[in-house]
């Protein structure tokens, strides 16, 4: 095996990838042979391997969280899952499929605004929670609580959302049926960039129902 000329050295970056087993297949054997004859390259490879081994060891010996966290996670998690099951039922009813959800809720405060002239709507929006929904594509998520004290079957056919930067009109296919009591509904608003914070300001949602129109709005404050 001839001594490699300096120009034949592999780059440090190539050795870093080699240490990870990620060098191109066709190059691996050549690199291995090169390192046998080149102390510089062998030193790089050894250093990167040591750092990788160190990172693995740090993880292996990492402290677990305090035992209290278990109870906290399981208690909150059960509640979150129950909510999610409700959410999923609604989503499937409006034909939405979501890849992943991470919601950051900010404000839970709403009041009902407009009533359709002549007739009070049968349903009342009693909660609006705005978050970002990391689905494909990421969108604003209007998590609304609806009460139907009359118990009359009400159909929601259209949702109009408005946020500080725009709005969206959605016809619901099929329409949402609200029979009575209280329920939670998720309506997706405008698509937003994944990295964007929630823009502070007023967020409004209007539902067109078989028994009048109902609106609610909420204020989102600056994220901490």
């Amino acid at each position: 095996m001839p001594q490699p000329a300096p120009t034949d050295h592999y780059t440090p970056e190539e050795w870093s990838a080699y240490a990870d087993g990620e060098a191109p297949v066709e190059q691996r054997e050549m690199m291995r042979l090169h390192a046998m004859d080149c102390p510089d390259c062998a030193g790089l490879m050894r250093s990167y391997k040591e750092l990788q081994q160190g990172a693995e060891d740090l993880l292996r010996h990492a402290e677990p969280p305090r035992p209290e966290l278990r109870e906290r996670v399981l208690t909150t998690g059960k509640g979150a899952m129950a909510e999610e099951h409700t959410r999923l039922r609604w989503q499937s009813s409006i034909g939405r499929l979501f890849a992943a959800v991470i919601a950051i809720g900010l404000v839970i405060y709403a009041w009902n605004l407009a009533l359709s002239p002549g007739e009070a709507p049968a349903v009342v929006i009693n909660r609006v929670l705005i978050s970002r929904y990391f689905v494909e594509p990421p969108s604003l998520d209007y998590d609304i609580g609806i009460a139907n004290p009359s118990g009359r079957p009400v159909t929601i056919t259209r949702a109009i959302t408005r946020d500080p930067l725009g709005g969206e009109l959605k016809d619901l296919h099929p329409p949402l049926q609200i029979s009575g009591g209280k329920t939670a509904v998720h309506i997706l608003g405008r698509k937003v960039p994944e990295s964007a914070h929630l823009v502070p300001g007023t967020y409004e949602i209007t539902l067109v129902t078989s028994h009048g129109t109902v609106s609610a709005r909420t204020t989102v404050e600056k994220e901490k």
Binding site: E13, E22, L44, S47, R72, V73, E83, F134
Partner: protein, 183 residues
């Protein structure tokens, strides 16, 4: 360290919201997720972020269809939340990290002395990792899960494989520099 996978029965129980199964999932992933959170957001907020990750995982579980390994999927959620947390804390301006050109890369290697004091090496390495820019710190941390390929790391970090490769290299070069400075 490779992370365990849940058996299908336990996974199904988790998806149905079974408390015992969720407890098994928690026990299985608490250490890696807590480690990820601690590395990325620091010890003070690690527990809250770890909690947040688990809640996000629980919420998304009913929709997990097994297209990737559960551990990969869970780590992706963890990675995403840690990054979101850092962005919220630092604002969008802090996301860009200075790109050093490859030309200024010294052929730095660790001296064999590091192998002698293994325990001290780990402590110093941990401290050095904490000083890395977010992206480099995340790449090094994710690579600590030894079965994590560049492709998987790229998927989690939303980078190309080439960017992962370059980021890991920069991270290691910085680590060597810092380990030598500190010695």
């Amino acid at each position: 360290m490779s992370i365990h996978e849940l058996d299908p029965v336990t996974l199904y129980g988790c998806q149905q919201g079974d408390t015992k199964a969720l407890g098994v999932l928690y026990d299985c992933y608490r250490q890696p997720l807590y480690y990820l959170a601690r590395r990325m957001v620091g010890a003070q907020e690690a527990e809250d972020v770890c909690h947040e990750i688990f809640i996000a995982v629980f919420r998304s579980l009913p929709k997990f269809r097994g297209k990737s390994k559960l551990s990969t999927w869970i780590l992706s959620i963890g990675t995403h939340l840690c990054l979101m947390h850092l962005r919220q804390r630092r604002g969008p301006a802090a996301q860009t990290e200075p790109l050093e050109s490859a030309d200024d890369a010294p052929l730095d290697t660790l001296s064999p002395a590091y192998e002698v004091e293994a325990r001290d090496f780990m402590r110093r390495l941990s401290a050095a990792i904490d000083t890395l820019p977010d992206t480099q710190r995340l790449a090094i941390t994710l690579r600590g899960f030894q079965e994590m390929s560049y492709e998987q790391v790229a998927g989690m970090m939303q980078l190309s494989i080439e960017q992962v490769r370059a980021t890991l290299f920069r991270a290691r070069r910085n680590l060597i520099k810092r380990l030598k400075e500190g010695s």
